[in-house]
Each structure stands twice: as structure tokens, then as C-alpha cells.
Symmetry: C2
Subunit: 491 residues, 2 copies
């Protein structure tokens, strides 16, 4: 795999010069077409042996292309604040919009190579890391971000010589870091580690390309060619994920909505007592030091129109400090959100440790309204179950407690509430023509909801279908569930 690169192939200055003039023109042209079509973003991950010249080549790409549409990023070891978020958070947040190009210096693969290059790498940890990377990239590609991965490689001797050369010249000596020196000593092990990681994370939709890096001309020309070929690709095939480590999905043959007991109710007096009781326990639980340090809470509220999502949320926030939570109401995406993968805007709302994010509607719009209204293809919403489960798993592994509430009401009850709302001046705004239209699609929504409850009810992020015909019953059921989940986590 590295044989060719380790033969340290070279181009003479003359050979390179004539190639480069053509490549620069083509690169620019391709970049502009890419920008005009705006059907996808291009993400270039640049990894490789330390001291192989990654930085220089990234600078060159910015010189050869129009740097206004290139976003160069680096992800050094996370700071304390960054560690309060799931590891992928900062990668998600910095995705380039459609039409533009992102270059990631260091590629994000450094921790994987580091683990694999240990004397005794932990196989399970490494597997998990590689799986995460594969999932992440597949998700990006399926959602409008093309991914290519460059591995800058050269022979052990060439690496050693390059570092020496850089060090000798006072104007380039700063480019040499401590890692560059240890490379030649650990070359065999690093090479093996890289091979293992590259082989496992190579994919048609997110290929690794080995760049021979010993000779500057060769390195630059090879990189330019790889980028050009990526930009010129007509379309990127959406990967099909058959993921062995799929999160456990409860398989059910019936529609989980059938099981809801709509007769559940609660008397006013019992309700008042219970509400105070649970609000108090909730207030205590989310102030627990263990919650503050190691957990966060993500509460998803879905349900038919007028099911009482907003009023349930208010019963929860009443027990919380306004500084600890954030409500994210979810409506149709804006243009800058459509320019990024679907889950991007939800990643932006992921809470840090100790905080609570409440979603009034959520990423489940993908498999509800977007499916029912045929805003996306069948393939897209079917794939979304896996993507969403993976998203929630990422969060869960970081200690985020994810709870999803489906507030269910019967059609009769909805009608009664619509009519009541129209009579109240300050609630009229809540009823729109769309609400009435949605009522006509009750059955289609019922089917979509059933599938959603079946395919995304996971151990790490369970669905709680709640009968909401009686508001008091629903509110208590919701807050009780939250309290029990948080209390169990901090015990």
C-alpha cells in the first residue's frame, strides 16, 4: 500500500512546472463549477506521517485555488470547554457549506493512529474509533458533503532527511516539532498503524489517497490531481450502511401507538401535589455534581398538533434555572441550514455537560413531516433511522441523557382543542391552516410515527409514548420519567 510512496518518486522542476500550469487552471475552473452547482461541499482530510509537508501543501492549495471559498481548519487536542461536548461536536459545527471546500489539517485521524501505534493498542477502543469515523463520513457523504482523505507518505530516510533539512535552515526550523523527530525511530510501528487504520476506514464514498511526499514537486502535483479529480466528480454515490454495531433496535410487529391507554387521567388535587413533588426532585437532580460534570439532558418533544408539547415543557422549565436550559423550537430549515448535512443544526444545539436542551419538535421531522409531505426521497428517510440512532449514540456515549416523548392525543380531542384555541384571543396564533391540513393526514402521520417509534426506540435514547388526552396525566408522566432517568444516572 505504501510501496510506491516509499520509493520516494520525484518530478523535476521542469516536469512539475508544465504540469502545474495546467493543473492550476483546471483546479480553479473546477472550483468555480463546484461553487455554481452548489450540490455538495468538498471536505479534504489531510493526514500523514509527521514531517511530510502537509502544512506547505495546504498553503499551496489556498494559493492555487480561490481561498475565499476554502475553509482551512485544524483540531488540536480539545480544550476543557470543548471536552464538555461530545468529541464530534466541533467537527460537525465546522462543516463547510455546499459549494465550498473545507480542508482539515491533521484530518482528525491523529487519535486513531496514536492508539493503533501503541505497543499494545486496545482493540475494542480502536474498533470503536474507526467505526465512529466511518459512520461520521458516511453520514456526511449521504448528506451533501463529499469526503476525500489524503495520506502524506514517504520513506523513513526521506522523512529523516526532510526534518534535518528544515531544521538546518533558520527560516524553516520552526516547522519542525517534537513529533517530527520521533517519527524515524518509530517508523515501522507508525507505518503499520497507518496501514491498519487506512484499510479499515477506506471506502468508495470516502477514499484514502496516498500522496508521495518526499519530493515537493511530486507531493504538490499529486495533491492537486487528487483534489481536481474530487471536484470534477459528477456525483457522489450515497453509501449504504450495513453496520454491524447498529444500536439495539426493538423490533415490533404492531404500531406502538396501539398500546397507548387514552383513559389515563389525574384529578386536579392529585396533580397539584404530584407536580410540586416532581418539580422539586427534578430541581434537585439536575443540581447533582455528577450531573453537572458528567451528564447533560436532551429532551425531545414530538406529538400531534395541540398535544400539549409547549405546556409540558413549561412545567419542566419551571423547576429549572433559566441559565441551565435552552429551548430549541424546530421549524423548517433556513437556507444556510439546508447548505449543510441535515443533523448539523441539531448538533449546534447539543448541550454541554451540566446543561439541558429541550426540543419542541426535533430531528424526527425527517421521518415525520418530511416523509409524510414527501419533501425527501424514500431512501433518505429510510436512511435517517440509522443516522439518527448513530447521532444519539454519539451523544449518549458522552453522558448525554436523551429522552424522547411522544405526546399522543385522539383525533376527537385534537378537534376539541383546536376549537377551544380559536376562542381564546392569545391562543389563536397557535392554529394555522396547516394544522387543519395536517389533521387530514392523520393516518399517514400515524404510520410514520409507528415506524419512528419502532426503529429509533433504543436503549440509549428511548421513546416514551404518553397519553396526552388528559393534560395533567401527561405532564406528570413526563416529568416523573425525566426525574427517574436523571436520578438513576447520578446515583
Amino acid at each position: 500500500m505504501f510501496e510506491y510512496a516509499e520509493s520516494d518518486p520525484a518530478l523535476t522542476d521542469e516536469e512539475a512546472k508544465s504540469l502545474i500550469t495546467g493543473l492550476r487552471t483546471q483546479l480553479l475552473k473546477a472550483q468555480y463549477q463546484h461553487l455554481q452547482k452548489k450540490d455538495r461541499a468538498l471536505l479534504i482530510l489531510v493526514g500523514g506521517i509527521d514531517g511530510a509537508g502537509k502544512g506547505d501543501t495546504i498553503n499551496l492549495l489556498n494559493e492555487w485555488m480561490d481561498p475565499r471559498h476554502i475553509q482551512t481548519m485544524a483540531f488540536p487536542p480539545p480544550t476543557k470547554d470543548e471536552r464538555a461536548y461530545p468529541p464530534l461536536y466541533r467537527f460537525w459545527l465546522n462543516l463547510p457549506p455546499k459549494g465550498s471546500t473545507g480542508i482539515v489539517f491533521g484530518s482528525g485521524y491523529a487519535p486513531l493512529i496514536k492508539e493503533a501505534a501503541k505497543k499494545h493498542p486496545d482493540a475494542a477502543t480502536l474498533e470503536k474509533m474507526m467505526l465512529t469515523a466511518r459512520r461520521y463520513e458516511a453520514d456526511l457523504v449521504a448528506n451533501g458533503v463529499q469526503v476525500i482523505k489524503l495520506w502524506f507518505h514517504l520513506s523513513r530516510n526521506a522523512q529523516k532527511a526532510r526534518v534535518k533539512r528544515l531544521e538546518k535552515n533558520p527560516s524553516t526550523a520552526w516547522k519542525v516539532g517534537p513529533d517530527d523527530h520521533t517519527v524515524s525511530k518509530r517508523f515501522k510501528r507508525l507505518r503499520k498503524a497507518a496501514q491498519r487504520v487506512i484499510e479499515t476506514t477506506d471506502a468508495d464514498h470516502a477514499p484514502w489517497i496516498i500522496i508521495p511526499a518526499a519530493n515537493e514537486n511530486m507531493r504538490n502535483v499529486s495533491t492537486a490531481k487528487a483534489v481536481l479529480s474530487a471536484l470534477k466528480k459528477r456525483s457522489v454515490r450515497v453509501p449504504v450502511l450495513h453496520d454491524p454495531a447498529e444500536p439495539p433496535v426493538a423490533k415490533r410487529s404492531h404500531n406502538p401507538l396501539d398500546r397507548i391507554d387514552f383513559t389515563a387521567s389525574l384529578a386536579k388535587d392529585d396533580y397539584d401535589d404530584a407536580l410540586l413533588h416532581w418539580q422539586n426532585r427534578l430541581a434537585t437532580a439536575v443540581r447533582h455534581p455528577k450531573f453537572q460534570k458528567h451528564h447533560a439532558l436532551m429532551l425531545v418533544f414530538e406529538g400531534q398538533d395541540a398535544a400539549g408539547k409547549g405546556s409540558s415543557i413549561r412545567r419542566i422549565t419551571k423547576a429549572l434555572d433559566a441559565r441551565q436550559y435552552q429551548i430549541t423550537p424546530v421549524a423548517a430549515p433556513k437556507q444556510f441550514e439546508l447548505d449543510r448535512p441535515y443533523l448539523w443544526r441539531f448538533w449546534r444545539a447539543v448541550p454541554r455537560h451540566g446543561r439541558i436542551a429541550i426540543f419542541d419538535r426535533s430531528w424526527y421531522g425527517r421521518v415525520l413531516v418530511e416523509r409524510v409531505e414527501k419533501l425527501i426521497t424514500r431512501q433518505t428517510w429510510q436512511r435517517a433511522y440509522t443516522e439518527i440512532n448513530a447521532f444519539e449514540q454519539q451523544l449518549s456515549q458522552h453522558g448525554v441523557l436523551i429522552m424522547k416523548f411522544w405526546l399522543a392525543i385522539t383525533p376527537d380531542e385534537q378537534l376539541r382543542r383546536f376549537e377551544a384555541r380559536q376562542a381564546l384571543p392569545f391562543k389563536q396564533y397557535k392554529i394555522t391552516d396547516e394544522d387543519w391540513r395536517n389533521r387530514d393526514k392523520w393516518q399517514a402521520y400515524r404510520q410514520a410515527t409507528g415506524d419512528m417509534l419502532t426503529y429509533t426506540d433504543t436503549q440509549q435514547a428511548p421513546w416514551h409514548p404518553i397519553s396526552a388526552n388528559d393534560k395533567r396525566h401527561a405532564r406528570i408522566a413526563v416529568i416523573k420519567q425525566i426525574v427517574e432517568t436523571v436520578e438513576a444516572a447520578v446515583k
Copy 2:
């Protein structure tokens, strides 16, 4: 000022009920009109005596209005990562877009009150804090963010009683923090501090409104009325800033462009040596621990088309680690940027300590292209000089070294370069019809540039007009200037 609030006025439940029904309807209606007009955002800063019920009332506003268009924020003491940015950074970044409402819990005034309530407050520090607040708010109001400030107030006895009442009830005891207890002991001093800060930062365009907070009904109704009146305001008058602490502006009667010596040049050999020398010193300087910890670098490149901004930038970045710098190319603002104050998008690109932000064109577009092309009113670009100076002062006070380069070329030289570019396939993209049109406006740009160089050349963020007819001379002049500035700062 606090007399009425400290009389602890109350409304009976009955009085409140009838008022509130009307207020809720009007609030919603006003919120929707605000949203539809989309001519401004509303920012509500909520401060006040601890234990006066701020949190409860903010929750209520979210209940009474449509919470999907309200963004509730809190700014607790900054984390370590946050302290690497100027203090106002997080406030700027979280501004609500036009049409929507932002509520800031704690108002951001807590540090001011704290300083003012010290036994021996530092007058200079306090003055500076209040000036910063006033400038910040004036800037927001002038740029499409309406500001109101609520101060929740009540008598010492009522505060004490409220805290006791909350504490006694297990379901509200969590609302009582340690600060709530010390309030009654320090009431007189806090009251005096609040009065001082409120009086100095009260302004027509960003008024303080005292909310009597002892009685829940009164508190809620007064808050609703204040918000309603703000939403219903037809338009907000743009404040005129006569700022005593204006940053020092060099007054010149001539156009600074006249002084540029276009004959300056550098021979190829001298250039090569000099470039290596200065790149090396730059690489060393920005790796200095003092730079990493206490400084950041913001480099602004402005100049006529084809003046060589991009190529100068590349000579600098060649000496830098790709992980340490970010180039921000500035073009016409996008819709989501137009929805925020003008400087918002530049605040987003402010570097943290140890980092370098390079701007290929910048916020000076406000007084160049936007002025010359008449995209904004005369009043707006004239005000921009003060706003920009204040912006740069904020950064400078945090250790950010700001250097602004004007790369100047003669009309003949520009023509020569345009023609040369059109002959080179990979540079053709750089020449557009707009560039030719801009040439026709040479004199108008010359005037605007002269004014800019005169009114925004400050000690903390100096302009460096550089003759760029000879590219080699320009590149060395730029990098030398940067090195000398950074070296002086870390000495």
C-alpha cells in the same frame, strides 16, 4: 428612583387577571408584527436585586409570547476558553436576528454592580465598564437591535421575606442562591451601586425600566407592559455618540495617500534574503509564550483591486503554522449577516489569544465600497468611523494587535496588472466586470480611502499605507511591520 418600587406596590389576583388577558393578546400580536416587519431585533436585558424573581418572569414571558422567536441567554462568569476572547465577544455572537427577541438573564451588568458595590470601588475601572456598556448598546441600537433594560427592584424587607418564603417551600428552595442571602445585609450599598450604574447607563435609546418586584402580579404586569411598549415602538432613534473617551484620532488636512512614495522598490536578490529573514523572525515571534498567552494578531488588508493583497498574505502565511491562522475573505454580506448589526460577522472572526486572523478586505468595506456605491446612508458611514474605532479598542484592550495595511498602486500599474492577469489562464478569474467598473470610480475611492486613513488611524490600531507598485517592496514592508509590532509586544 427606587421609591415607587420599594413601596412594594401590589395588584390583587383579580386585577391582575383582567389585565393579563389583554396583555397576552397584545404581546403576541405585537411580537408577530415585529417578526413580520423584521426591521429590528429586540434585546431585553434583565437585571435586578438578587431574589427579586427575574427567572420566574423570564419563564413567564416565554409562556405568554411565542417562544420560538425568543432566545433566552445567560452569561455566567466566563470560562477559561471564553477568557481567551475579548469580554464582549460572547455578547456579540449571541445577538438575536432581526424580527426576533433576545432575553439576557442577568443583563450583563452584574460585574458593574459588583464593582460599584465594593467598599472602595475603583472609579476608573467602573467608568471604563460603564463606557463600554454605553458604547456597546449605542452600537446595537444604531445597527438594528433595540435595547431595553429591566431592573427588578423591591424593598429590603420584601426581598428578605421572599427569600424566606422560597426557602421554606421544598419545591422552590433551589431557587435561593448564596447571593440572595447576602442581599439584605448589603442592601443599602447594593441600592446605591445600582443607582449609580443605572443613572450613568440610562439612555433614550437603551432605557432602564424599574420593575416593582415584591408582588408577583405587579412584577408580571409591569414586565409585560414594558416589553409590549418596546415591541410597539414604531422606530428607534439612532443615538448620536459624543464620546469623551474617543480613541485618539490623528487629524490631517491632506489625503494621506498623497504621501506615498511610489518609486520605492527592491531588487530580486535583496528581496529573497529579506523575505527569508523576516519570515523567520515572524515564525519565532508568534511562537513566543507571551504572544500565545496574552496577545492575538488581526491583520487587515485593504487596497485597490490587483494591489497584491492575496500575494502579500501568502508571504505571511508561509511563515505560519496552518493551525495558528485563519484567513477571512470578505465579500457582500449574506442574509443572516444582514439580520445582525454590521460588525457581528467580524466579531465572529475575532481570534483567541495566541491566534492570527487575516482579513482579505474587512469591516472597512463600510466606509469604502458601501459608501462609494451608496449602499448605505451618509449618516451610517459617518457613524461607522466611531463604531469601528470602538470595536478595535475593545480588541486592543484584550491584547489583540491590530494592524491595517493599505496597499496602494497607481492607476497605470493597475491597468498593467489587469491586462497581465487576463493573459494568464489561472488568474483570469480574478478579473471581473466589477473590477473595470471600480476603476472608473478611482477618484471617489481615493476620497473615501483618504477619510478612512484619517479617521481610523489610531494608536491602538494604526494604518500602514504601503506603496505596492513594486510587489517586492510591498511584501517586505508588510512583513517587517508585523514582525516589529509583535516583537515589541512580547518584549
